[in-house]
Symmetry: C2
């Protein structure tokens, strides 16, 4: 085998993990979310910029404010998942950069003084971090259900107090009854990977 | 502990894994890259769109074509890493969508007939897959060194035969001498995660 990661961990994170569409009512605790963050925060980003920001929606009031912005087909699962995490890219991440990159504080002005460059970089690197986060949810033994079917501007206005771009909403919990359809096909190695 | 993932796997993938800046000359084989892909291909994307495309650069000729587009500070490591993987988002991913999403082939035209929507979706979802890929490189016991310091248009023209956007280049191999600086700080949980 070419992988050194334990096969049980491979199954937990990738092979047996699935996007859940239904959930049990077992709560997802703040301790679990904190453990996920404390693991995946180490995943690399360009200039260590770490632009991902997460808003947890758990209360009935918060749920109500969110569900009205979701597309019809996403409403039932968003209403019943024990926890919904909203993942945003912080377009003002450069304010934290001198603290995050102490050996090169000039990076803030040299690379990120212009808004378009900042927004592109935040989107890419928060997207990377969203990948780590989904892996982290699975590392906690929980199922993730990422969704992008919503009125993004509505969710941003409702849940973001700053200059944040919504990347996705993720339902989190233990899979419930009929949580998933059969696994969808994937592209073959040769369709994805070529050698120059 | 709130995580069920084995602590050794946590270390391998996140806690002890680091972005390497130097590499030994031990080759990275196609079998290793295939094992990485066969693991991380299962990571979820919206509509199972799977827009990530990877070009492997390993030969001296390929290396020469790549290095000239890298920024000065990235040239030494790009020249000496056993393998460089170029990660692209395929803006024409919708052509594969009917095969990838057989129960909903209408998605291709309903959501992705317009180029701007397609490009946004490809960037986000290939970014997610780039996160899974970096985790996969580490699952193979290898170090990844992601970089975005290059002339992107030059690399795209040189290595992409289609409508692909370059996301990052990743040096891959076993860490060499003085492979990394001390770990950089991360944002605290309370700086990143809030509750609505």
């Amino acid at each position: 085998m070419s992988l050194v990661l334990d096969p049980a961990a491979q199954d937990l994170l990738f092979r047996e993990a699935r996007t859940a569409n239904t959930f049990t009512d077992e709560p997802v605790t703040d301790e679990q979310v904190q453990a996920i963050y404390e693991l995946v925060k180490y995943g690399p980003t360009a200039f260590n910029q770490s632009p991902l920001r997460v808003v947890l929606v758990r209360t009935p009031e918060g749920r109500e404010r969110l569900v009205k912005h979701m597309t019809e087909s996403n409403r039932p699962k968003t209403s019943t998942a024990p926890l919904v995490a909203l993942l945003f890219a912080d377009n003002e991440f450069h304010e934290e950069l001198p603290a995050l990159l102490p050996h090169f504080p000039q990076a803030k002005d040299a690379f990120f003084s212009e808004r378009p460059a900042r927004e592109r970089s935040a989107a890419l690197n928060a997207g990377l971090q969203a990948g780590y986060f989904i892996v982290g949810v699975r590392a906690a033994g929980l199922a993730a259900g990422p969704m992008t079917g919503y009125d993004a501007a509505g969710v941003e206005k409702e849940f973001s107090d700053g200059d944040h771009t919504l990347l996705m909403a993720i339902n989190i919990g233990r899979p419930g009854a009929d949580a998933w359809r059969p696994r969808l096909p994937r592209l073959s190695y040769d369709e994805v990977v070529t050698t120059a």
